[in-house]
């Protein structure tokens, strides 16, 4: 039986996505990695498909199988009246605290133990990711969005913007520290080695 836990688990996520319009499991995943949920939720096929089956079993969603030519058959899911009700119930529960797990920050925390070049590379990569995501989010922004959608997108963009600004303005400090920590002579030697980025 459906019982929203957090309120946010994969089932609730699916219910939420479907409340905006019918979709297949494949499309739900795409929305989690490129679409509007990418910033605050991740889910793979291994959790989405079983979640959809469980929701179907509880009659919170309905399925329609669509045969396509040139492409594999797909299962288009829609939320039922019961499903909407369950989703609204889940939204009323108090939210669990946010949790972030960042390998990047963990590594930066121990930045002075790393070669300066690695630190510089990690920050450069991070800036790259952040900037690309910011671009994707900007594209994502359209006037048809609901207030909530625009709000959470704006929140994500504000965070990413702050992160890029911070990295831009503070990267030299950390790279400098790491450089000073290196064995003198190595740090100043011109590098012929290529670093994987």
């Amino acid at each position: 039986m459906y019982e929203a836990v957090c309120p946010m688990d994969v089932k609730t996520l699916c219910l939420g996505v479907l409340s905006r319009g019918e979709a297949t499991g494949y499309e739900i995943k795409k929305q989690c990695e490129e679409g509007p949920f990418a910033f605050f939720y991740a889910a793979g096929f291994g959790s989405i498909y079983p979640a959809l089956n469980a929701l179907k079993h509880d009659n919170l969603i309905s399925v329609e199988e669509v045969i396509q030519d040139g492409k594999p058959a797909k299962k288009v899911y829609s939320v039922t009246a019961d499903g909407i009700h369950a989703f609204l119930g889940a939204l009323e529960r108090p939210p669990a605290p946010d949790r972030l797990r960042s390998d990047f920050l963990f590594m930066m925390f121990f930045g002075q133990l790393l070669p300066a070049r690695d630190v510089a590379n990690l920050i450069a990569q991070r800036l790259d990711i952040l900037l690309r995501r910011l671009g994707e989010m900007e594209e994502c922004h359209n006037p048809d969005m609901t207030g909530g959608e625009a709000f959470s997108l704006g929140y994500g963009m504000a965070i990413y913007k702050a992160a890029t600004d911070y990295l831009d303005s503070h990267q030299q400090e950390l790279v400098g520290v790491a450089l000073r920590n290196e064995v003198p002579g190595i740090a100043s030697a011109p590098s012929t080695e290529k670093v994987k980025v």
Copy 2:
């Protein structure tokens, strides 16, 4: 056998914490919830104690049992030379992408489905948490920190600052939308009901 996965799992976290100085499992957990790791890592006793036992088994850390009076005996762990080596190895692996899971943003995304008062409460609570954490982080900041520590703390503060600014300046928009979505008459009626905050 120890084999850093992400590089960041609870074992690597423990190794990292201990590389800064000896600590007990209890103290490691405190550092994860109040200390410098709180922003980007969470871990409970149920994962820390088994991780410490596994690290001990691999001789990456050593234990000293300290009997205290008035308090239960504690096990103080220190990292060994092998442990330092293993930790440095873990830091060299490429970082896994950050992952955030935010019930709050999920709920805001569907904000127009919620009563305006709930939206306003959720945002107020969030601001409260953010501000409190910002205060804790400011206190945490001291001149003895390594470059990496100051960098990641600064990063966290920049993010939280951006989040509070965004919430401050955009909360009215979302609450307004939610209000307009409510049944006319209810929205404007003065409320006698107390809302749990």
